[in-house]
Each structure stands twice: as structure tokens, then as C-alpha cells.
């Protein structure tokens, strides 16, 4: 085996990037070389390969290659390559060195996490993912981006610490740090599950995603959407496949964001909600846990990097050229950005699971698995979420950016590298949709699960019916003029709890504590003051104890005292 650990190529490559400052052509060539060399390396890794060593009495496994980790390995190389191509135009004002270095470290961390065979290695890359990716948000340099990046970092560091705590308890209980399939029982498993849930954007733990992703740079968001949540999906598939609660968590994730996406004005934030919706399908599939469902979940993760990346790239291109991403500010851009519009529509058709596009061949595996396992109550919920995707990602994103009312903005197509990156992603979406065996051939489970046939008469017909009438409803609401207008606004989500409510509670608690403290200090001071006044009254210049008494009165007092002693002698 001549391969090296996949993350090493990226981390070593990132070390060189800062020295290529001021040499854009050399830097571009170097950046492109990293995922290409990495891909050749990972293709040489055999299934079953493990790199292990002993550390403090525990066995650490920095590399464990099986079909599940290799699938994500291939995916992350493809995602890194497309994202790097998309970011090659960055020039001095965009902080290219910072963005490229952190992006390459970030991609390497994702690879390290999916090949990690033990919890300590996983924890190291889990934290490195957070630390490296936050610079893609901070590179935007706006005060909002800085604040959002801080919140993002805090949430992910807490997730990492939770993972470490779970791993420690797990090691104490089992004597092993191996990261494998677990039962969701006991403190260790729940801590690890919670850590994965934060990164996977579980309901109520999701707001970091919709807070941070829209604040990153146009190129940074493309990197962000490829790695963090997909590492979490991998970790759930590895550690908690077949855990029933994931079915219900996934169903909630698939449904609640689509309501927000309908009324969200910022199109990149709407894509953030869409991302949670798509992860919901993956989480649900992992919860079902059959070979078909796991294949569906991970293949949907693979496809999501392509179609969601394509949509984020299209919105990034719009932002790069116009400086705007809000639906209320955009519209009519198809006139001056026709190629970007077409590529965005391909992304929209893909995410909507239109036949011949890639989501059709992956999401259908999850839906079929739900039916085969008789999850009859969850299946309609996921079908509703499927229809909802058409509304917010299939129609809303391309419609409000490129069509709708003419905003009057006249611009031009984005730089060539952006179009090439979007073209690669679009071609991959179509290729997998038309020839699903390209993807099915590398899925974790073979046999019957890998022989799934998405293009049956019933499936094609019912999907087209669902999509057509979902689109019809949107069209009807537009024609009847009761579709929610795009209004410049923000929508309160869970982040309100720590951005507003927690601040208010903290301030209120502070004011109460300050009041109690003030009252206590006041009463103590009053007591001290009263004591001092009393002492002053007694000992002050006019005090009774400060008076100069005549000698006669002293004789009198001495006589009284002596008489008292004499009197006491009789008893």
C-alpha cells in the first residue's frame, strides 16, 4: 500500500499556500493540484486498510478505509476541487491567502474526520473543522460576519468538547476508543449523539447554520456547504445507523425549515434552510437503518454537495457581481447572466428530484426504504417535505434572482472560473441522474440494496405528478397574488434565544443582583454609619466618655467600687 493518509496531502498543501502570495497563477496551479493528487491517493487506498498505533495504552486509528469512508473520501475530493475552481479568481482585496489556506485545511480536516477510526482522531479533526472554517466567515470582514463567526466557533467548539466528554466516558466504560456502531444508551452515547447532532443541525441546534453560512464570503459558503454537515451525516451513519429516534428527528428537520424558507428574503439564508431540509432526508434514512436506506442517505449526501453547492455557487456569483442576495433587491438577472441562470436552474431541477437529475436517484431510495419498512406515518411527512423543496429551492431561488420583476440591475456573467465550477457541478448532477450506476457502484452496501432501480414507470409518473402540481400551486398563488411578498426583514429563529432572550435575561439578572447587592451594601453601610455615630457621640469631643471629670468624682467612684467589693465579700 503506497497511499498516505488522505488528510496529510491537504494539510501539507495548505502549508505552502501562504508562500505563494503575489503569484496567482502558481497559487492556482498548486491549489488545483492538491485535490487531484489527493484523489489519486485515495483511489489507491484499498478497502479494509487501517493505519494504527498505540498511544497511552489505547489503540488509535488515524486511517480506517471501508466503503463508507471511501465514498465520503471521493466526495470531499470532488467537493474540494469544484470549490477551489470556484475560488480561483480571488485577488488581494478578497484575502485570498487566508481564504485558500483555511479552505484547504478545512477540506483536509473533513477527510481526517471521515477516515478516523477512533474518537480521539475524530475529535481532533472535529475541532479543526470548526477552527479552519470560521476564517471563511471572518474573511467577509463585516461586523455582522465577525459576530456570526464567533457564534459559529462557539457552537462548534462546544460540540467538540461534548464529543470529547462522550469519548472519555465511552473509553472508561469499554476500555476502547474505537469509533463504531453504538446503541443510544447511557451517558457516553448520548453525549456523542448530541455532538453529532449539533454539527448535523438537528432541530433547535440548527441556528448556527442559518446564522453563519449566509455571512461567509461567496466562495467560503461553497466550501462550508460541502464539508461540515456531511461529516456529521457520515458520523451518524457510522455510529447510529438504525437508531429509531433519527427517523423522527429527520422528519422534523425535513419539514420545519421549508416554512422559514418560503418567507426568507435572503436567498443564501433560504438555501441554508434548504440544506437542513435535505439533511433531514439523510438523517431519516440513517434512522431507518436498512442497507437500502443507508445507501440512500449517503448517496443523497453525495448529491447534496453537488446540487446545493451549485445553488450556493449561483447565488455566490450573483452576490459577487451585484453585491446583493436579497430577493427584494434582485430579479431580471437572466438578461445579463443567462449562463448563470441556466446553471442555477439545473441545480434547482436537481434538488427538486426531477427525473434525470441526481436527487431523483438518491432521495427515492430513502422514500422507498420508508415504505418497505412500513413507516406509513413518516412517509407522507417526507413526501410533503419533498414537495416543499420544489417551492423554496426549485422555484424561489432561480425565480426571484433571475426572473420575477426586473430589478433594473444590469451586470455581466461572473468570472470564467466560477462558470466552469458551476458547469462541473451541473454536469455531475446530470451525469448521476442519467447514469445512476456511477454513484450506486461506490455505495457502502452492495447486493440487493445496490441494485435499486429508480426509473420505474410508477416512480417517474408519481414524481412528475407531485412536482407538477406543487409547481402549479406556487404558480396559482402567484397569479392570485397571495404568494408571500419578499419583504426586507429578518425572521426570528432559535438563535433569538441566545441573541436576544439570553441577553435580556442576563441583563435582568444583572440588574436584580445589582439591586440586591446595592440594598445589602446600603444596610451594612448604614449599620457601620450608625455605630460610628454612636461611638462618636460617646467618644467625640462632646461625648460623655470624653469629658474631663474633677478629682472628687474619681474619689467618689473609687469609694463606690470599694464599697461594692466589700459588700460582695459578705457572700
Amino acid at each position: 500500500m503506497s497511499s498516505v493518509p488522505p488528510f496529510l496531502i491537504f494539510l501539507a498543501g495548505a502549508l505552502v499556500v501562504p508562500f505563494l502570495r503575489g503569484m496567482p497563477v502558481v497559487r492556482a496551479a498548486w491549489l488545483l493540484l492538491i485535490p487531484i493528487v489527493g484523489a489519486l491517493n485515495v483511489m489507491g487506498i484499498q478497502e479494509g486498510y487501517q493505519l494504527q498505533f498505540e498511544f497511552l495504552g489505547y489503540t488509535l486509528t488515524p486511517v480506517r478505509a471501508d466503503r463508507l469512508s471511501l465514498l465520503f473520501g471521493y466526495l470531499f475530493h470532488l467537493g474540494a476541487f469544484i470549490s477551489i475552481v470556484y475560488s480561483l479568481h480571488l485577488r488581494d482585496g478578497d484575502r485570498p491567502t487566508l481564504q485558500h489556506t483555511s479552505a484547504v485545511v478545512y477540506a483536509g480536516s473533513a477527510l481526517g474526520a471521515v477516515f478516523a477510526g477512533d474518537f480521539i482522531t475524530l475529535f481532533v479533526f472535529w475541532e479543526l473543522l470548526a477552527v479552519s472554517s470560521v476564517f471563511l466567515i471572518w474573511a467577509r470582514r463585516s461586523p455582522r460576519a465577525v459576530r456570526s463567526g464567533l457564534r459559529y466557533l462557539l457552537v462548534h467548539v462546544v460540540s467538540g468538547v461534548t464529543l470529547l466528554a462522550g469519548a472519555m466516558v465511552h473509553a472508561h466504560q469499554t476500555g476502547s476508543l474505537e469509533f463504531g456502531l453504538m446503541e443510544l444508551e447511557g451517558l457516553a452515547a448520548w453525549l456523542i449523539f448530541l455532538a453529532f447532532g449539533v454539527k448535523a443541525a438537528f432541530p433547535l441546534l440548527h441556528s448556527w447554520l442559518i446564522d453563519a453560512y449566509p455571512e461567509a464570503t461567496p466562495t467560503g459558503t461553497v466550501f462550508l456547504c460541502a464539508f461540515t454537515t456531511k461529516v456529521a451525516v457520515y458520523a451518524l451513519a457510522r455510529g447510529f445507523a438504525g437508531t429509531d429516534i433519527l427517523i423522527y428527528v429527520g422528519a422534523v428537520m425535513a419539514c420545519f425549515p421549508i416554512f422559514y424558507a418560503v418567507i426568507e428574503n435572503d436567498l443564501r439564508r433560504a438555501l441554508g434552510y434548504s440544506m437542513i431540509n435535505q439533511i433531514g432526508f439523510m438523517v431519516c434514512g440513517i434512522g431507518v437503518g436498512t442497507h437500502l436506506a443507508i445507501n440512500g442517505a449517503v448517496s443523497h449526501a453525495f448529491n447534496d454537495v453537488l446540487f446545493k453547492g451549485l445553488l450556493f455557487m449561483a447565488m455566490g456569483a450573483v452576490m459577487h457581481m451585484t453585491g446583493k442576495t436579497k430577493a427584494s433587491d434582485l430579479g431580471g438577472l437572466y438578461k445579463t447572466m443567462p449562463r448563470t441562470a441556466i446553471l442555477c436552474i439545473i441545480g434547482a431541477l436537481s434538488i427538486s428530484a426531477v427525473p434525470l437529475f441526481n436527487a431523483f436517484v438518491s432521495k427515492s431510495m430513502i422514500m422507498s426504504a420508508l415504505l418497505y419498512e412500513h413507516h406509513y406515518w413518516i412517509w407522507p411527512v417526507m413526501l410533503f417535505a419533498s414537495a416543499g423543496v420544489v417551492e423554496h429551492a426549485g422555484i424561489k431561488i432561480p425565480y426571484f434572482a433571475f426572473f420575477a420583476h426586473d430589478s433594473g440591475i444590469r451586470t455581466r456573467e461572473p468570472p470564467g472560473n466560477m462558470l466552469v465550477a458551476m458547469g462541473i457541478a451541473a454536469a455531475a448532477c446530470l451525469a448521476i441522474g442519467i447514469w445512476p450506476d456511477l454513484l450506486y457502484g461506490i455505495l457502502p452496501y452492495g447486493g440487493e440494496a445496490a441494485e435499486y432501480e429508480p426509473y420505474t414507470y410508477t416512480h417517474i409518473l408519481t414524481q412528475i405528478q407531485l412536482l407538477c402540481f406543487a409547481i402549479g400551486a406556487v404558480a396559482a398563488f402567484h397569479l392570485w397574488k397571495i404568494y408571500p411578498a419578499e419583504i426586507p426583514s429578518v425572521n426570528l429563529d432559535v438563535d433569538w434565544v441566545y441573541r436576544r432572550a439570553a441577553v435580556k435575561v442576563t441583563r435582568w439578572t444583572g440588574s436584580v443582583v445589582a439591586g440586591v447587592d446595592r440594598a445589602f451594601r446600603g444596610s451594612v453601610l448604614k449599620t457601620v454609619d450608625r455605630t460610628l455615630r454612636g461611638a462618636f457621640r460617646a467618644h467625640g469631643p462632646k461625648g460623655i466618655l470624653a469629658r474631663t471629670w474633677p478629682a472628687g468624682s474619681m474619689v467618689l467612684w473609687v469609694s463606690i467600687l470599694l464599697a461594692a467589693f466589700l459588700f460582695l465579700q459578705f457572700f
Binding site: 455582522r144 430589478s407 409518473l461 402549479g472 400551486a473 406556487v474 408571500p484 426583514s489
Partner: protein, 82 residues
């Protein structure tokens, strides 16, 4: 980038696309009635279940979102004083 006067006039081909789309809807609706398909879920036994599910589902999604907006929408600079 330059700014032109905004206008809301839809392009001339928009109407044609809508007509073609509604024609496609009619075709797939008729297809469901005329040709049998596989059934795995009790709901699927209902005729034209998928078209109804798609239309009603999205209608509910839009209407509930409008209600949700009343509760969660704030001015754009709501968090700016952080």
C-alpha cells in the same frame, strides 16, 4: 453593474410557458386515471393522490408560512445593535 429602472412587466414568453406547463399538468393527471401504477402505501390507492398531495401540500405550506411570518418577522436591523 448598472441600474436600470425597475419594471414588473413579465417577458413575452412567460405566458406561453405557463400554458405549456398547465397542459403538462393535465396530461399527467389524465395518465394517472387511465393507467394503473404500483401501490405500496394505503394513501397511494386513492386516484390522483400525488397531484392532490402536491397541490394541497404546497398550498398549506404557503398559507401556514404566511401565518408564521406574522409571529417571526422583524425589521431588517433587528439584531444590528448587538
Amino acid at each position: 453593474m448598472s441600474e436600470h429602472k425597475p419594471n414588473s412587466v413579465p417577458p413575452p414568453w412567460a405566458g406561453r410557458i405557463l400554458v405549456m406547463f398547465f397542459a403538462l399538468c393535465a396530461i399527467v393527471l389524465g395518465w394517472d386515471v387511465l393507467v394503473d401504477r404500483e401501490v405500496h402505501h394505503p394513501l397511494e390507492e386513492w386516484p390522483i393522490m400525488y397531484p392532490v398531495f402536491g397541490f394541497v401540500g404546497i398550498s398549506l405550506l404557503i398559507l401556514i408560512s404566511k401565518v408564521l411570518r406574522r409571529f417571526v418577522m422583524r425589521r431588517e436591523d433587528y439584531y444590528e445593535d448587538e
